[in-house]
């Protein structure tokens, strides 16, 4: 069998210097939350281990995950990513098309059976035999089942494939499901986010290459290093939260001064992601830093926790109402009923007394 090129060889071929390569390794070590002593290990692994082929499948999704990955403007990251994901198959950017592309993917999977990594973007519609999403003449379900047979691990990239996102939102007409619900016999790692951060995707892949294993996962199959903490707990506006200083409306004074966005619906307190640590676009900023509340895009079924600009979601009864409206209605209802009952009781007793008094009066008269 032909020796597979290593990751380092691949990036060197595409013109990346040794220095840039090392910087990438160092950055990734840091993102993965590893000790600095792990740095040489990562360098060595990327230099010596054959680069595992990665097949990137697109199902029911908006392709924002691909965008997040390939548009990551970090010169290192973007080049390196394209090097690291040997991208034998990625519909959005591959050169091949049609039958040729399909041939490449199945040929490659056969050749690398048991060794390749499957990255899946998008959820899989399951209703009516899965007809709502077909690729290369197969339904997404068939495609996924076939492609996953020889996969070493499956990376669910983005909220659609991890938990369900816009494609699975209520009423979910296509019966779309996230990957882990369909593939249960392979290790699956969820990288939710709409889209997920490029560094998170790359970090997970580097971990796979270096240690031949997935990073430690939490109970929702997310890597703990990236999804272990709430946005809220690493948010730089937290001091304003604790102090009780809140933006009341977009464009008010607090908004200009950068106060906490809790009252305009920030979901940071219930959202697990790396945004407030890794940030976006080379660490330039992240939504909260640019004055927008967190929408909780990396949480399960986040579209159903509507509306988005409210930190407690509405109660999903017909018509959707806030817990407060229903609760206040209930409390007022109880108050009115109780009041009516009390008044009736008092009136009844009073009239009884009046009657008794009359009876007694009559007796006296007699």
């Amino acid at each position: 069998m032909q020796r597979q090129e290593t990751f380092y060889e691949a990036v060197k071929r595409s013109g990346i210097s040794r220095r840039d390569f090392l910087r990438f390794c160092l950055l990734t070590t840091a993102y993965l939350g590893l000790e600095s002593t792990m740095f040489p290990k990562i360098v060595r692994a990327l230099e010596s281990k054959p680069r595992p082929p990665i097949y990137w499948l697109n199902f029911a999704a908006c392709t924002c995950c691909t965008e997040s990955l390939i548009r990551s403007s970090h010169p290192l990251i973007s080049d390196v990513i394209l090097g690291i994901i040997s991208l034998d198959y990625m519909e959005t950017i591959q050169v091949a098309a049609g039958h040729q592309a399909e041939e490449i993917v199945w040929e490659g999977m056969k050749k690398n059976f048991g060794n390749y990594i499957l990255a899946v973007e998008g959820s899989v519609p399951t209703k009516d035999g899965g007809v709502y999403c077909t690729v290369g003449g197969m339904t997404a379900i068939e495609y996924l089942k076939k492609a996953s047979q020889g996969a070493k691990a499956i990376i669910s990239v983005g909220s659609c494939s991890s938990f369900g996102c816009v494609t699975t939102a209520h009423p979910n007409p296509t019966g779309a499901k996230p990957i882990y619900k369909l593939i249960t016999d392979k290790p699956v790692v969820n990288l939710p986010g709409c889209p997920p951060i490029a560094e998170v995707i790359v970090g997970t892949i580097v971990h796979l290459i270096t240690f031949d294993s997935l990073p430690a996962l939490d109970n929702l199959k997310r890597p703990k290093v990236f999804y272990g903490q709430r946005i809220h707990d690493k948010c730089y506006r937290r001091a304003f939260f604790d102090a009780g200083m809140f933006v009341e409306k977009f464009d008010d004074e607090g908004a200009r001064k950068g106060w906490c966005l809790y009252k305009v619906g920030c979901r940071g307190p219930v959202t697990y992601n790396a945004c407030s640590v890794v940030k976006w676009n080379e660490g330039v900023s992240f939504p909260i830093q640019s004055g927008h509340p967190c929408l909780g895009c990396s949480e399960p079924d986040y579209w159903d926790n509507r509306p988005l600009y409210q930190h407690v979601a509405d109660v999903p009864l017909p018509g959707f109402a806030t817990a407060d409206d229903i609760g206040k209605g209930f409390a007022i209802g109880v108050a009115v009923a109780t009041g009516a009952h009390l008044v009736a009781s008092i009136v009844k007793k009073a009239s009884q007394k009046a009657k008794e008094a009359k009876v007694e009066e009559k007796k006296k008269e007699e």
Binding site: R230, A331, V334
Partner: protein
């Protein structure tokens, strides 16, 4: 004093029955304080209605204080509730009144009769054991107790997520997937708070009414432990069966 003995005090015009032992009374007033704090701080956490008059967040810590108070009261509330649950079985007087036999037809007949009795403004005093709670009230308190338990579970589950994998998260982490995610957990926590507020409105209005207008000693019984009935009052056995004949 033996469990089944009824301790009564007769005065010139009323009979007083000893119903609530000191543990029940103290535990009740702890609840009053703590639930009041929980509701107030909970409402603040949910809709922070006061903004400190400062330009910088240094020195002000209103939200943090509210959260800490909420958590502290929650712990007292929980311990108090657990102790109270134990007291159902160990308590001297209360145990005697506590009858929750939902598997018996009589329980439901009695509850239904009491509901009608209550809606038609009769307020009949019947069997002796109902000096504590009548069946309808028992049912209400059990539902309240369950609601408070869910409130505690959801609360501690939310609190646990501050430190994933930590003590509270390990103990209560399972609650979150059970209710379908943290957003739902918060929503439920909030709904139950309104439920509790609804209960309180009714509860407080009626103990006052029964104290002042009916002279049953409802409110004062939580202070003295004694409930009042008219002199010469005789318990009625199974009034719901008599009604039918």
């Amino acid at each position: 004093m033996q469990a089944n003995q009824i301790y009564r005090v007769e005065s010139e015009c009323v009979t007083r029955y000893y119903v609530w032992d000191p543990v029940v009374r103290i535990s009740h007033w702890i609840n009053v304080i703590v639930v009041g704090v929980l509701i107030f701080t909970g409402l603040y956490i949910s809709t922070p209605f006061y903004r400190p008059n400062v330009d910088e967040p240094f020195g002000a810590s209103i939200m943090a204080t509210m959260k800490n108070l909420h958590f502290l009261s929650a712990i007292i509330f929980t311990l108090n509730g657990l102790f109270r649950a134990y007291w159902w079985f160990a308590g001297n007087t209360y145990r005697q009144w506590f009858r929750f036999h939902i598997w018996r037809a009589d329980f439901w007949k009695e509850a239904w009769w009491k509901l009608k009795d209550y809606i038609t403004l009769r307020y009949t005093d019947y069997e002796l054991h109902t000096l504590g709670h009548n069946t309808l009230a028992t049912l209400t308190y059990v539902i309240l107790f369950l609601a408070a338990s869910v409130q505690g579970l959801t609360g501690f589950a939310m609190a646990g997520r501050i430190n994933p994998g930590g003590f509270f998260d390990t103990l209560f982490g399972w609650v979150i997937p059970l209710f379908g995610g943290e957003a739902n957990v918060r929503m439920i926590h909030k709904m139950i708070m309104w439920g509790i507020i609804g209960f309180m409105i009714h509860h407080i209005s009626f103990v006052i009414y029964l104290e002042v207008f009916r002279e049953k000693g409802m409110l004062s019984s939580m202070i003295t432990g004694l409930k009042t009935r008219p002199l010469g009052w005789e318990p009625i056995e199974k009034p719901w069966e008599k009604g039918k004949k």
